[in-house]
Subunit: 201 residues, 2 copies
């Protein structure tokens, strides 16, 4: 397991406390931005297995899902030049840039026009939700390199029925799923605890 | 993923609600017995990767760990004839027999004698804790077959400093750890949700 894995454990614990506290979305997003910002401030913790790009399409690896499906965390791995269709989320989402860069183009469903573009560089956190703007198209800002962002959503995002919007105006239901059938075991702290044991009690 | 994986998700969700409710240990163990009993009532859900015995020693596969380390769940896989040393847990634990059978011998530290033996058959749930009796030796009741029990503990058990007791009276600190570096992804419900989507929204 990577050196900085404690950083990931701390972030997951923090989001667990946030959803248990039943905050307003505004406060949850404020606190969540801080937690996710701390996680992505250092790029030393993402398990290699959750950082593998695919030549055909962007990959979403589940890192953790809350058992009551109040939040989930994924690593979103962009191959060079890859992009999403225009889509919504239907729940709050936080996007923290870990490696490389991405462009998020806001989309207005009424006018079918882009509303603006945000460029995320490592260390930056962006947010989406039905109340603050939920529809965008996203792309790897780099044509020649892998980029990776870490997303936290207010649900088990791989099981949320949501929508892709065609520029023609057509709306297509979709569910994103996860590419990984196994998750990293983040919780084996046995070696660290063992190192503190006396030889005899 | 096995057919009955929803059973495992439901049990993990139930224990999450229990620890969030901050019950007394007595109530938590009562409710927990019920939850674990429902899980092990049917043997159709344990991922094969968490059911693999080792010829040398019993295996503990982490199935789930609460991010605040208020509980963890493991599959405990016995090779034919394998047994543990006499040990404690220092936290509450529930043991549900899924497959095969095991024998739990209670141990009295003062007299260095066995206090009694419980035989667990599939569907049965036993409990340990410092308040109700925490020291035992356990063995596969079957000399020629694999047995598997599902354990839920009131901590990240693979990171708990606890003790092995030699019959000589010697006490040896230990931490059990986990054999698996990856966990099953229990949360990909995308196929089921996708099957309910209309072709167009
Ligand atoms: Fe998005
Ligand atoms: Fe035990
Ligand atoms: Mg482009």
């Amino acid at each position: 397991m990577a050196e900085g894995i404690e950083r990931l454990r701390r972030c997951i614990a923090g989001f667990t406390r946030l959803v248990e506290a039943r905050l307003t979305e505004e406060r949850l997003l404020d606190e969540g931005r801080r937690l996710l910002g701390e996680l992505i401030a250092v790029d030393d913790w993402l398990p290699d297995a959750c950082a593998v790009p695919d030549p055909e399409r962007y990959q979403q690896y589940l890192l953790y899902c809350d058992p009551l499906e109040r939040f989930s965390m994924v690593s979103f791995v962009w191959g060079p030049g890859q992009s999403t269709p225009i889509h919504d989320h239907t729940v709050w989402g936080l996007i923290g840039m870990l490696r490389g860069a991405e462009l998020s183009h806001g989309w207005d469903l009424a006018t079918r026009c882009r509303t603006g573009t945000t460029r995320l560089e490592p260390g930056m956190v962006d947010a989406v939700s039905p109340s603050i703007g939920d529809v965008h198209q996203v792309e790897n800002a780099l044509a020649d390199r892998v980029s990776i962002s870490i997303h936290v959503y207010g649900a088990n995002i791989g099981a949320v029925a949501r929508h892709v919007y065609r520029e023609s105006g057509e709306t297509v239901p979709f569910v994103s799923g996860y590419v990984n059938t196994v998750l990293p075991n983040l919780w084996d702290r046995s070696a660290a605890v063992r190192a503190t044991l006396p030889a005899r009690a």
